[in-house]
Amino acid sequence: MFEFIVSYYNYWMFIILMMIGFYAMAAKRNLVKKIIGMNIFQSAIILYYISVSVKGGGVSVPILEHAHDGHGAHHAVDIMQYANPLPHVLMLTAIVVMVATLGVALSVVIMIYKRYNTLEEDEIIMSIRKG
């Protein structure tokens, strides 16, 4: 039972974090709070991918040791010693997309505030309906 919980604990924690972000995106009225929820959602996905790259205990970051000893290129690499590098690379790309969406969303929010003088969603909808 304890081993079962430890094996899936990381997935459950990231699902809970992701659902907190999803709830903020769906239920909050303030546009900036929605953007914060989107960031929590994306951070949960990034943490999930990083946790997938772990291989048991005792792994280190994927930077090869003894690489510059002179015979580094012919040194056999023990792949169990290093974490999986591929999720780290994919999450670098995801962080770039996250920053790009955050920048565009914040500038759109600035334009909405300049036009309607509020960031509350229902007030914006009311002032659109009034014309």
Binding site: Y9, S53, V77, I79, P85, A100, G103, V104
Partner: protein
């Protein structure tokens, strides 16, 4: 409305937790994510790219076109921010 979105969040979370039971266990060295191409990258990084940091060699060498497209994403986002914030100042 808040009740409705809370119910939706609970349903999606329950579906995701049900799906997570089929995932490989935490730290499983033979999981699909770490058994196809990542051993190749770890073994051949020094010989192919002379870079001890495997993340760098995958990002800038093996998947270089991906990084090129990523710079396009950043450029597009920067252009969108500039056009939104500075574009209509004169009208």
């Amino acid at each position: 409305m808040k009740i409705l979105s809370f119910i939706a969040v609970i349903l999606v979370g329950a579906a995701l937790i049900y799906g997570s039971l089929d995932m490989p266990k935490w730290g499983d060295p033979n999981s699909p994510a770490s058994s196809h191409v990542s051993p190749y990258y770890l073994r051949h990084s020094m010989a192919d790219t002379a870079t001890p940091n495997v993340v760098t060699s995958v990002l800038a060498d093996y998947r270089g076109y991906d990084t090129l497209g990523e710079t396009t994403v950043v450029f597009t986002a920067g252009m969108a921010c500039l056009l939104l914030l500075k574009g209509r100042r004169k009208n």
